[in-house]
């Protein structure tokens, strides 16, 4: 049998024994390939100039991914080396040189990696199509299937994997080269004497780390950059301290409470967990740190996404909206000149936003909600302007009653405004409160149609009121091109240099493109990272557990002999499993969930529609995270149950 045949056979066995690992490598390769596809896709790059830095961001994310996948490969190969050292030692015993054994080991790992890349690239093509479809949908471009095989993406993926394997295998190879036959033959025995250490120092560490964790989480919630960094450091210290000392802290707890220890399956469960943690405390802690980072990243991404989305919705009810605080009627003329000539306008309207002679309603809103004022007065709009704008937007017609004023506000102020029942007086003209409307009306910024709300009053009330900004709103026949949007912005920029003040221009098409690009550039890489991180972490946990199959098998065979009931064995196995996988996620959840909530509530009022949306964000974050997690855990549990429990 030639070496390469031996390598090939071993590679096949490796893929079968470490199926979880192989699947993860394939999935990682597929994801890396799919995102590389985005980097090299002309089509995507041409969607918008806002996407110019997308390739850079993806390459940066890929760098982090390479490190994480490298960790997985390195960990798993070292692990396999320990498990298979006896076999490798036998090769040396039969007269092979260490160098040859190392080459054998290298070849088979490379083969597994190579096959993973091939499978990953094929799968990655499908994933790329999915990514492409999502991206095109974001930019409202119709999706048509076009098979794209990017040689650049393949080469980049292969290069990443070459890096991963070279770094990961270097250590194992050096180890084989230096190893003596005895070491190889007995390497797998080294762990058998692993002690479940008890010491006072660990107990102190346990208590101290929990205190650090609480302080760190509180600091993180304070939303102060410096304190936040200290908080993050404390949390990392907590996670390592906690997992390193857990194996003594919990047995201590039970040692003092023998009645609890000997109740139910507690004894089996906490002891096997404690022994597992003694050998893998550092890994557990690292995984918990990664999980915390993943959850925080996912949550933050979702919150920012909500911010962008809400900004788009609230500013783009008109296709074009221009507000100028040049008070003269003529202040919008230069824009008009360009628009008349270049844009196919379906309907447009010019109007002014007025200042009231008091700030009664602003005071009310300020006192009763999360609101900060821009003006020393309430803002007003003429009824005729309001009706015209509503018609242009296609909103329902409103009932206008003589002597009444209407409030149009952002949805989050609806309840508050509905309960405002005071009459309004403008220049001595008195009006009774009318209805409240909350459709999108460009009200999120100071030079919108009021900030947060506007009071719509009969035209007669405004005869002597000053205009605070002149406004132009239009609906176009077709979405504006990026070039047109840029041209209008250019007019604004030129004007800004010549006059004091600042004109506001909202162009729906441009804002949507920018928003879609932000989405692609923030959410895509975040979820790319989160996916790979979760898969790698849960794979390492699973490998750890599966490596113990023999020991657990012996344990349950013995318990069967001693007369433990099968139902009880199943329950105990399930609980061991559940706690093992929950261990690294629990501290992560305890830290990241408050963080996401704190971040969500730090946004401007009105950005999120309410606490419900924040819960939805948290829900989606957790679902994304646990969906992958649970698939792995379920697969591992099924195979474990089959292998570990006695068959009778």
């Amino acid at each position: 049998m030639t070496f390469s045949k031996l390598s090939a056979r071993n590679a096949k066995r490796q893929a079968r024994d470490y199926l979880v690992y192989f699947v993860t490598i394939v999935m990682a390769a597929a994801l890396i390939y799919a995102f590389n596809g985005l980097v090299f896709s002309e089509e995507i790059r041409n969607l918008s100039h806002f996407l110019d830095s997308l390739p850079l961001i993806i390459v940066l994310a890929s760098t982090v991914i390479i490190c994480i996948v490298g960790w997985l490969v390195s960990y798993t190969t070292r692990f396999m080396l320990t498990k298979r050292s006896r076999e490798l030692g036998t090769y040396v015993l039969l007269g092979m040189e260490n160098k040859q054994v190392a080459r054998l080991f290298f070849q088979e790992n490379l083969m597994v990696g190579g096959i993973a890349i091939v499978c990953g690239t094929l799968l990655g093509n499908l994933l790329f199509q999915a990514l492409r479809a999502v991206t095109l949908a974001l930019f409202h471009v119709p999706y048509t299937f076009s098979f794209s095989f990017s040689i650049g993406a393949v080469l980049l993926t292969a290069a990443y994997f070459a890096l991963i394997y070279l770094f990961a295998l270097r250590r194992s190879l050096r180890r084989i080269n230096r190893m003596k036959i005895y070491d190889l033959l007995y390497l797998d025995r080294q762990n058998e004497n692993e002690a479940v250490k008890k010491s006072g120092r660990r107990r102190i560490l346990f208590v101290v780390s929990i205190i650090l964790g609480i302080i760190g989480t509180v600091l993180l919630l304070l939303r102060n950059l410096m304190l936040g960094i200290i908080g993050a450091a404390l949390i990392i210290a907590f996670l390592y301290g906690f997992f390193l000392s857990f194996s003594s802290g919990v047995p201590d707890y039970f040692d003092k409470r023998p009645a609890k220890k000997f109740a139910g399956n507690n004894l089996l469960i906490f002891r096997s967990l404690a022994s597992k943690l003694t050998t893998m405390g550092v890994i557990m802690a690292t995984i918990a740190v990664l999980f915390t980072a993943t959850l925080i990243a996912e949550g933050t991404g979702m919150v920012f996404n909500a911010l962008f989305q809400s900004r788009t919705e609230q500013t783009t009810c008109f296709d074009i909206y221009i507000a100028s605080n040049g008070w003269e009627e003529a202040s919008l003329d230069d824009y008009m000149a360009y628009i008349d000539e270049n844009i196919d306008v379906r309907a447009d309207y010019r109007y002014g936003v007025y200042a009231a002679d008091n700030d009664t309603v602003t005071q009310y809103v300020e006192a009763n909600s999360d609101y900060w004022r821009n003006f020393e007065f309430d803002t007003l709009m003429a009824m005729s302007d309001y009706l015209a704008l509503r018609e242009m937007l296609g909103y329902s017609t409103v009932e206008v009653l003589d002597g009444q004023y209407i409030i149009h506000c952002q949805p989050y102020l609806e309840g508050l405004m509905s309960s405002y029942n005071k009459p309004l007086t403008v220049d001595g003209y008195e009006m009774a409160p009318g209805k409240v409307y909350t459709e999108h009306f460009t009200q999120s910024l100071w030079d919108g149609n009021g900030r947060g709300f506007i009071l719509v009053v009969p035209n007669e009330a405004l005869t002597t009121r000053p205009v605070i900004h002149r406004t132009y709103a239009a609906m176009t026949e077709t979405p504006l091109s990026e070039a047109t949007a840029t041209a209008i912005s250019d007019i604004r920029d030129a004007k800004d240099k010549s006059i004091a003040g600042y004109d506001t221009v909202f162009i729906k098409a441009a804002i949507q493109a920018e928003n879609a690009s932000m989405y692609a550039m923030i959410i895509f890489p975040l979820f790319y990272l989160a996916l790979v991180l979760t898969m790698v972490a849960v794979t390492i946990l699973t490998i750890q557990l599966l490596s113990d199959t023999d020991r657990y098998q012996r344990q349950y065979a013995l318990l069967d002999n001693l007369g433990m009931e099968r139902r009880e064995m199943e329950r105990s196995l399930f609980r061991q499993f559940a706690i093992f996988y929950a261990m690294p996620t629990l501290p992560s959840l305890l830290i990241s969930l408050p963080f996401i909530f704190a971040l969500g509530s730090a946004l401007d009022a009105g950005v999120l529609t309410g606490i419900g949306q924040l819960w939805a964000i948290v829900g989606i974050t957790l679902t994304l995270f646990f969906a992958i997690y649970i698939v792995y855990v379920f697969a591992a549990y099924t195979s474990y149950r089959k292998n570990v429990l006695p068959s009778r």
């Binding site: 023998p258 009645a259 000997f262 004894l267 022994s275 012996r554 002999n561 007369g563 009931e565």
Partner: protein, 252 residues
């Protein structure tokens, strides 16, 4: 208390049947210490497994306190084992993640004993077997002799009526073997435990009150110690082994 009646056990398929046990019958009275001797492959471990309900018989009956263990249904077997049988294995079979105290206590936990009483019961048995000082330690921290004594404690702590020992001294040095056998004798004489021990070591067997010899799955001979000293009994055992032939060199 234990009656083994015409027990047969076959292995293999239709064309290649191995008879591991061939019409074995014997009886064990309460409080007896019985050894079953035989060379490797004589069927002694198979016999023990059948009695302990880990394995099933092909024919025949095994009665413990009048109850036919070959007829107990699957779900009752576990209950039967944990309430009535204590096991001592050659390689101790302690769980390496548990301390000795917990390894002994688990027999009570499995029996759904009151968690509050577990520690007290364990300490009491440990005191009898002289391993109180080692209770806090893990199996890898103690000697083979201590491990096997912990296994003995586990086998009797829940008040099991029959203790089945499979080569209990197989992994021990001669000094630890001697002390373990003395402890087992003590368990038998002081605590009234009924012990059925399988061994191929004549020295171990000489501690029993009666020895059954197995060869090729059949009961070959029986020796009763009676009033004789252990040394005399030991020599008689060796004589029987010489008669068994073939394997004698393996046995000495």
């Amino acid at each position: 208390m234990l009656q083994v009646q015409n027990v047969e056990k076959y292995y293999g398929s239709k064309n290649n049947v191995t008879k591991a046990l061939d019409r074995i019958s014997f009886e064990v009275r309460r409080g007896e210490f019985i050894a079953i001797m035989g060379a490797s492959g004589s069927g002694k471990t198979t016999l023990l497994n059948c009695i302990s309900t880990i394995d099933t018989v092909s024919a025949g009956n095994i009665l413990l306190d009048g109850e036919n263990v070959t007829e107990i249904s699957g779900s009752e077997l576990a209950k039967f084992r944990r309430e009535r049988l204590g096991f001592i294995f050659q390689d101790f079979n302690l769980l390496d993640t548990l301390t000795l105290e917990e390894n002994i206590g688990i027999a009570l936990t499995i029996n759904h004993a009151d968690p509050k009483s577990v520690q007290g019961n364990v300490r009491e048995v440990a005191h009898q077997l002289g391993i109180v000082d080692a209770l806090e330690k893990f199996p890898y921290q103690v000697s083979g002799g201590q491990k096997q004594r912990a296994a003995c404690a586990r086998a009797m702590v829940a008040g099991q009526s029959l203790i089945l020992a499979d080569e209990p001294t197989g992994a021990l040095d001669s000094k630890s073997s001697k002390s373990l056998l003395e402890i087992m004798t003590g368990m038998n004489q002081n605590s009234g435990a009924t012990i059925l021990m399988v061994t191929h070591d004549a020295y171990s067997a000489s501690y029993a009150s009666r020895i059954l010899f197995l060869k090729d799955g059949r009961l070959f001979n029986e020796l009763i110690r009676g009033e004789r000293s252990r040394q005399v009994f030991y020599h008689e055992t060796l004589d029987v082994l010489a008669l068994l032939g073939g394997d004698v060199s393996d046995l000495l």
